[in-house]
Every structure is written in structure tokens, then in C-alpha cells.
Amino acid sequence: MIPNLIGITLLTFILFHVMVKDPATRFAGKYATAERVETIRAELGLDRPLHEQYLFFLKQIVTLDFGRSWATKQKITTMIDDGFSATLSLTIPPFIASIIFSVGLAMFAAYHRGGFVDKAVVVTCLAMMSISSLVYILFLQNVLAFQWGLFPVSGWDPSWTGRWEYLLLPWIILFVLLLGSDILVYRSVILDEAYQDYVRTARAKGLSNRAVYTKHILKNAMIPVITMIVIGMPFLITGSFLIESFFGIPGLGGMMLKALNESDFPVIKAMTVIISIAYMFFNLLADIVYSLVDPRIRLR
């Protein structure tokens, strides 16, 4: 894991310094003078040799103190803490709900493959996938929140008791967004399993179809499903930028995008490191879960 991390940090560092030639000019403002740009360059630590800057970066990761944002001068660790709380409460519940629901519905569709239900599910999911997320957001916000007044239009309350009111409609939208593609993929995964020999054997032995599906097919289909879930994990952290900006939820998605737009290197560094660590952690978790689910796989 450590070599991975070093590789990623090196890559981010090099890319940033190659792509953005002179961030100091950006932060010197519209009335910059050559002198002021120099001063700012020194303040931001950009005049030190590259390898020194890189080592400083590594030290920051180890101490988890990423300094302050160039653009806002706020402490990055605080920014991330605040954003994490909002983003995770926005993305985790629909993520979990959509996994459960889409696996269930995918199994249902696979069970009735070729039939009316199956076809209906496939068509509906394709339709749902083809509609852009922006359309869902604009439409549902306008109809459910604005016109029918069922949910607040936007807003946020950081307290744990107050935030649910503002999260309900975003949850619904995220859930619907995740559903379409998930169901189709899981359905095809389960169908692959359904045609295996062991399924026929199990039926021949006298197992009910339900048992075949839940005991045998589900377990085998779990491996690709878990892979899909793990691949979707970074989404939990970067959040859904559009939903956050339309509903005024102060999360991490917006933070990363703003940092990229403003060449705010400390924030970009911090976010890249965090997302990489999270991703690696979830990969590890997935490996452990594989070994639990599939006895053929053993952890070394």
C-alpha cells in the first residue's frame, strides 16, 4: 500500500507542477506587480526546490496536516472534516439502499428472464440510465420540492437531528440515479451464474428455485457484485457535485471541483491523498469479503 501511495503522490505532484506553470500569479490578484508575485511565490513555498516541496508534501500526509487552502486560507483538515460529514450522510444511505434494492430486483428480473417482467425491468432501467442526472435533479427539485412543497428546496443543518429534512429529496434522487445501471449489470451477472451446471444439479437434487437463487447463485454472483461496489466507493467520498450544489449541501464534491478550478494545490493534494487511501482501504476490504464469500479464495 505504501509504494502505491508514494506513486500516487509523486504523480499528482508532477502533474500539478507541469500543468500549472505559475500559480503565484493567480493568487497575486488583478493588480499584481512582479514584486508581489515574487513575494507570494515565497509565501506559498513555490520558490523552494521541487524535491524539497515534495518531501514537505509527504510530511503533511504523515501528520495529516495539509495546511491551509491557497484560495480561502481556511484550514484544510477542518474543511475536509466538515465536508466528509455532509457528503457521507448524503451518499451512504442511498448507496446501501440501492445495492440491496438493485440486487433484489436484478435477481427478480433474472429469475423471470425472457418474460414480461424481465423485459419491463430492462427497458425501464435503460430509460432511467439514459436520462441525464441533471434532468432528474431539475425536474424532481422543481416538482417535489418547489411546486408540491413536500421537501425543502435546498438547505443544510449540520446538527444530526436537523439534517434529515434536507437530505430526503437528495437521497431519493441519488437512489434513482444509481438504480438504472446497477440493476442491469447485476442482472447480467446473475444470469451468467444461472446458466452454470451447478444450478442444474441443484435443481435436479430437488431444491426449490428460491433456494437455488438465494443459496447458490447469489453467493457466486456476489464476487462481481462486490467488485462493482468497491469500484463505486470513491463516489461516496467525492459525492455528487451536482446534487450538492443544487441542494446547497456543503460537501466534498464541490470542494474538489472548486480546488481544481482555482488551481488550489493544497486542497487538490489533500483530496487526492484521501481518495487514494480510501480506495486502497476499500480494495483491501473487498479482498477480505471475497475470502469470506468464496471459500476458494484464501488470504495470504
Partner: protein, 669 residues
């Protein structure tokens, strides 16, 4: 349940009279069906456990089987109850939590203000962006401020007792500081009580602005203008001096007198003293909070951030009324039309400060508009998409007027322009080519199509409302005329565009910028000018411009203060990159006139110079002067005394909400 549990049953009955019940009912049905599905699985299987199920049966046969099983299931009591219970529970929870309408408090004087971007920090020396300034100027105050109602914009004393005395040579300004002005109460002070301000506090605040270690973008307001300041800054940079060393040009002979000595005449000094960069901050708070001062503002203004948690980052800032504010009276003068608009109702009366100011940050147009239409915001800028539904023929539509909503129009002091890179070998040297470009630009159509007609065409670099602006002046090469453009193109040596290389137009990547760029490029293509569009992120865009790599690009410049100098300085040769002269225009004749104008106080002589400079710029055309935007805002009927001010944002001490009117009008929206 959020304070509406007792009312929820009443509301449910009420709601049944509205379409609103439709949604929970549909939800109920949907959830019920879903609940059923869980058991259908098992049931359907039980009905035909044969290998035939592996082959796709005909749809109708299967369908019939499903129907039978469904009906069978429907009457199964346990499933029915399970599903029903589930659906009702979820529907009630959803509906109960969100569907009931909260009663509007008729004693609440809170003012809710929209912000289109996130506030970065509340430290005045970093008030580079508009949105942070909008909050900062209600917490902090400076020596001078703009008159709220008068137009053209005029300065008036704020923390100064009166306008300064200026020495005959224009180099010494003497300010008398108002007595009895206190900082907000804050733990930074010895007994938690805010102390009275002194002239030293201004010197401290401005030193802080100039301190190179703070890397403030706002230092330009004093840079090289105050005696001894540059030396002080250099001493700090070279570590040969310290912060407390005195500066000759900033003296406080006594607690309530401040003397500023300049190195050269600087007639814009009074304007910059009204900017957020120059407000007064207490040393105690800066020393106590250090790098966290940007989250713990302590000023002298009518509003304060009571505790850091009142600021929910990237979401909402709640400022509370400062109970120790000295008080002020509402202005008695305005411009023609203010009286009729009801803006002088409170003339001469002591200001009634709202209990709370809530700034709500929403970057997207739709939720901002929707929040306004629900009464959660007191005013809003009309987004392009909603313009036609709100305004017809420059008047508000009757449906909205019936709800008490009013329209307000203000003109931004700015110029939206397209710049040429004057160092480009072809564009920079060929005046006629630039004129051809300008004549081929169709600005009136651009205004109609992309700005809903809400802009005035610019005839030069000076916007309306400033000295040097001439409403009768027309730019001879600014009116759309394709034939004339073709003439000039031929004059330039490229008849029908032959021999011209392909140009690159740098623009930002957002959809509106792209659309406008494409429109312009089409107009030029119709003349045979080949152009490529290159889209950029904002930092990339700035970098290209600062490095002189952008050939043609579009930007806007908004006034920092209402003096044409702020626009004319964009063409001064000493201001080229990294300064604000982005086109790289250099003209010694222009420079001479500019330097001479700096030495003159506002008046006829200076205005003549401004006009001469304008003429040179029209002649040389480093920019295609585009337009000046008009801002259309809607306000609710319960908002009083609101008049948008383009120069100062510390206006919420004048504004108030009529809470009874709000309680009456808001539920009817």
C-alpha cells in the same frame, strides 16, 4: 417533528383539499406494490415448479399466471397487512416530516440574503471576492462609505466624523475619528467588552494590509502612495525592520486624529478608503485568533458573528445584531424616484437593525429562484431562464405583482469587452484589421440573445455614471455594419479575409461563455475571418492572458470605485502583465495624458483629459467595447428600504423587513 406535530393532522385534512395529497397516495400505492413483490417471488415459484420455467414461456400465458398469483396474493391477509403497514408508515413519515407548512412568525425581522458563490473568509485584507465583501461590510466599517441612495455615487463619512481636510497640494489628508465607536464584545478583549477605536487602530489595520507576510491582494490601494510605506514593507521583507516601526505617512497625533501623507497626488484615496480592504480591525482579536481570525471577525459594524458556529461553511452565515452599535439615522436625500419608490419613508429616523442577517449560499440559479418564490429569500437577481416569466416590457408580470413582488433595475459600473493582444504581430500592428473586427461584431443582437436585452451597448471604455462618460458619443467603429467591416478588412490588406491566418479566441468553458463566443466567431466567419475557439478553466485562462498567450479574449472589468481612472488605468503601459493591462496596450501619448490626469482633482479639466484618452482608445481600438450590463432584481413586498448599491454592500443596516406583512404575504406565494 420539527415543531409541526400538533398541526400535522390539521394539515393533512387541509392538504386533502389540494393536489398535494396526490403524491403520498401515489407513494403509498407504489410502496404497496413493492412490498407485494417480495412475496410474489416465492408465490409464483410455488405455482409452477417444473423445468418448463427454464424455457421462456409465451408472454400471455405467463402474464395470466402472474395475474392469478397476484390476485391470490392480494387476499392473503398477512401480506396485505405487512404491505399496508409499511406504506402507510413511510408515507406518514415523509409527509409528516416535510409536507406540513410551518406557520410564519409575525415578529421575525430576519433578512435572508442570497449569495451566488461561497464566502471564503471574513478577514478584510483578503476580501478579494464580491461575496466575502458582501458579508464583511456588514460586520466591519471604514473611515468613509458611499451614500446609500444618492446617484451618481457619492462618498460620506462613516467612522470619520466628517470628510477629510485636504492640504492645498493634495498630499496631506487629515481625518477626525468619530468618538464613542466600539468594537464588538469579544473574548479577545480584557473583560470581553469591545473597546473604543482610536486612530492607531486604522494604522494597525492598514499596516496589516501592507504586510508582505499576509500576501494581501488588496495592498494595491496604498502601494507606493503613502510616504514611508514602501520602505516599511521592504524592511519587513528583508527582515531589517519590524511591524511596529513607525511610518511617516501614517500618523496619529492624538487618539482621534489620523494624518495621511502621500508621495504623490492620489485623488482616488478617498474611494479606496471606502473599500473593504481599508476597514478597521482590533489588534487584540488578530493576535488572539491568529490564522483563525478569518473565522472570528471582530468589527465595529451593526452586525456581528456571535459565535463561529453561526457560519456553516459553504451553506449559510447568520449574523446577529450588534447590541452595542452606536446607531445612525436613515438618509434624508436620494435621487429622483426614490421618494415614489418608498425609499424615503424612514428619512431622518434612527435605523432599526434587523435581529438577524442570514446569508444563504446557493451557486445554482434554480434553487435560488425557487427559494425566492417561496419567500425564503428577500430578493433575488432574475436568472436568464426565468426572465421572461417574470418581466415583460421592463415591467414585472401581473401574477407576481399581485403577490407583492417588485422589480428593481440597477446598472453595473462595468465594461464587458473583447480584447486584442496588442503584442500579436498581426493584430497588434493593424488598426484597420481591429476596426474590421469591431464593425463585424453584432452587439445589439448579442444583448438580445444572451442578456435578455438587459444591457447597454458600450461606446467606449468609460461606463455611464462616471465623469468622462458622454451619453451622446457614438463609437464610429462600434456600430454593426458588415459592408463597412469588409471595407476596412480590405484596407487592412486582407480583402475577403484572404491571407489571414487562423486566429484563436480564448474563452471560459462554461456554456454561456461558449455560446457567446460561438456567436461572435460566426459573425467574423461571415466576413472570411477564420477563427478557432479554445476553452479554458479560469486559472488556465488567466495564465494565458498574463503570459501574453491569448490572442483574442473576452472579459469584463467592474469598477473598484466610481472614477473613470479605474478603467483608463487598464491601458497604461506601466500596468502591463502581471498588472491589469491585459491587452498589453502601450502608447506614450496616452501615458502622458494618463499621468497628467492623475495629478488633477475631479473637475472639468480632468474630465477633458478623460475624454481625450477615450478618443485615443477609440482610435486605436485595443478592445472591442461591448456592453454595460443592467441587473434586474425582484424584491418581496415585505422588504423595505432596499436599494441595491453597486459600490458598497454594507447596506443592511438601512434595510428592514415588515414582519406582519411577511406573515401575511408569504403563505400566499
Amino acid at each position: 417533528m420539527l415543531g409541526c406535530a400538533p398541526a400535522s393532522t390539521v394539515n393533512m385534512v387541509k392538504a386533502s383539499n389540494h393536489m398535494k395529497l396526490q403524491m403520498p397516495f401515489d407513494l403509498f400505492v407504489m410502496l404497496y406494490l413493492l412490498a407485494l413483490m417480495g412475496d410474489r417471488f416465492d408465490n409464483y415459484r410455488a405455482d409452477h415448479y417444473t423445468t418448463k420455467s427454464l424455457k421462456p414461456a409465451s408472454v400471455t400465458v405467463k402474464g395470466m399466471r402472474m395475474m392469478c398469483s397476484k390476485v391470490h396474493r392480494f387476499f392473503q391477509l398477512t401480506t396485505f397487512i405487512k404491505g399496508l403497514a409499511l406504506c402507510v408508515a413511510v408515507s406518514l413519515v415523509t409527509f409528516g416530516l416535510t409536507g406540513c407548512t410551518k406557520k410564519v412568525d409575525d415578529t421575525d425581522t430576519t433578512i435572508n440574503i442570497p449569495l451566488r458563490a461561497n464566502v471564503k473568509g471574513l478577514d478584510p485584507i483578503n476580501a478579494n471576492d464580491l461575496y466575502s465583501s458582501m458579508v464583511i461590510q456588514n460586520i466591519y466599517e471604514g473611515l468613509l462609505d458611499y451614500h446609500y441612495l444618492k446617484r451618481p455615487y457619492e462618498l460620506k463619512p462613516l467612522l470619520a466624523e466628517e470628510m477629510p481636510t485636504v492640504s492645498p497640494d493634495g498630499l496631506t489628508y487629515t481625518f477626525k475619528i468619530r468618538k464613542g465607536v466600539r468594537f464588538h464584545d469579544n473574548p479577545a478583549f480584557p473583560d470581553g467588552k469591545g473597546r473604543e477605536i482610536t486612530a492607531e487602530d486604522f494604522i494597525y489595520s492598514w499596516k496589516r494590509l501592507a504586510d508582505p507576510r499576509n500576501a494581501s491582494e488588496g495592498y494595491w490601494i496604498f502601494e507606493d502612495k503613502i510616504k514611508g510605506l514602501t520602505e516599511w514593507v521592504n524592511a519587513i521583507k528583508n527582515k531589517t525592520g519590524d511591524f511596529d516601526a513607525p511610518i511617516e505617512g501614517l500618523q496619529a497625533p492624538d487618539k482621534h486624529t489620523l494624518v495621511i501623507k502621500l508621495t504623490q497626488p492620489y485623488y482616488q484615496l478617498q474611494y479606496v478608503l471606502a473599500m473593504p480592504f481599508a476597514v478597521v480591525v482590533p489588534k487584540e482579536a488578530v493576535e488572539k485568533y491568529g490564522a483563525e481570525f478569518l473565522n472570528n471577525p471582530v468589527g465595529t459594524g451593526p452586525f456581528m458573528l456571535e459565535k463561529p458556529s453561526d457560519w456553516i461553511r459553504n451553506s449559510k452565515i447568520t449574523l446577529k445584531r450588534n447590541p452595542n452599535w452606536r446607531g445612525e439615522t436613515y438618509p434624508t436625500e436620494g435621487e429622483p424616484g426614490d421618494k415614489e419608490a418608498g425609499l424615503l419613508e424612514d428619512a431622518g429616523k434612527p435605523l432599526q437593525i434587523a435581529d438577524q442577517l442570514v446569508f444563504i449560499e446557493l451557486t445554482e440559479d434554480q434553487p435560488r429562484w425557487q427559494n425566492f418564490m417561496k419567500g425564503n429569500l428577500e430578493w433575488v437577481e432574475i436568472p436568464n431562464d426565468n426572465f421572461d416569466s417574470a418581466v415583460k416590457n421592463d415591467k414585472i408580470v401581473p401574477e407576481l405583482a399581485a403577490k407583492g413582488i417588485k422589480l428593481q433595475i440597477s446598472s453595473a459600473i462595468e465594461v464587458v469587452y473583447t480584447a486584442f493582444n496588442m503584442n500579436d504581430p498581426i493584430l497588434g500592428k493593424n488598426k484597420d484589421l481591429r476596426r474590421a473586427f469591431a464593425l463585424a461584431s453584432n452587439i445589439p443582437v448579442r444583448i438580445q440573445r444572451f442578456y435578455n436585452g438587459r444591457a447597454l451597448q458600450a461606446q467606449g471604455p468609460i461606463p455611464p455614471g462616471l465623469d468622462g462618460y458622454d451619453p451622446d458619443f457614438k463609437n464610429p467603429w462600434g456600430q454593426f455594419d458588415r459592408e463597412k467591416a469588409k471595407e476596412y478588412l480590405a484596407k487592412a490588406g486582407f480583402p475577403e479575409g484572404k491571407g489571414l491566418p487562423e486566429f484563436t479566441y480564448e474563452t471560459l468553458a462554461d456554456s454561456k461563455s461558449r455560446q457567446i463566443t460561438e456567436f461572435e466567431v460566426q459573425n467574423w466567419a461571415a466576413m472570411g475571418i477564420k477563427m478557432k475557439i479554445s476553452t479554458n478553466t479560469w486559472p488556465q485562462f488567466q495564465e494565458k492572458i498574463k503570459n501574453g498567450q491569448a490572442q483574442i479574449f473576452g472579459l469584463a472589468w467592474g469598477a473598484d470605485y466610481p472614477d473613470a481612472q479605474n478603467f483608463l488605468q487598464l491601458f497604461y503601459s506601466k500596468n502591463v502583465s502581471p498588472g491589469p493591462n491585459d491587452s498589453g496596450y502601450k502608447n506614450p501619448e496616452y501615458d502622458k495624458l494618463y499621468e497628467a490626469s492623475l495629478k488633477l482633482p475631479p473637475g472639468k479639466e480632468r474630465t477633458e483629459l478623460y475624454k481625450k484618452m477615450r478618443d485615443i482608445l477609440i482610435e486605436d481600438m485595443p478592445w472591442i467595447f461591448g456592453l454595460h450590463r443592467l441587473n434586474y432584481r425582484l424584491t418581496h413586498g415585505w422588504l423595505r428600504n432596499f436599494k441595491y448599491n453597486e459600490m458598497t454592500y454594507g447596506i443592511y443596516k438601512y434595510v428592514r423587513v415588515d414582519p406582519k406583512k411577511r406573515a401575511e404575504l408569504k403563505p400566499k406565494l
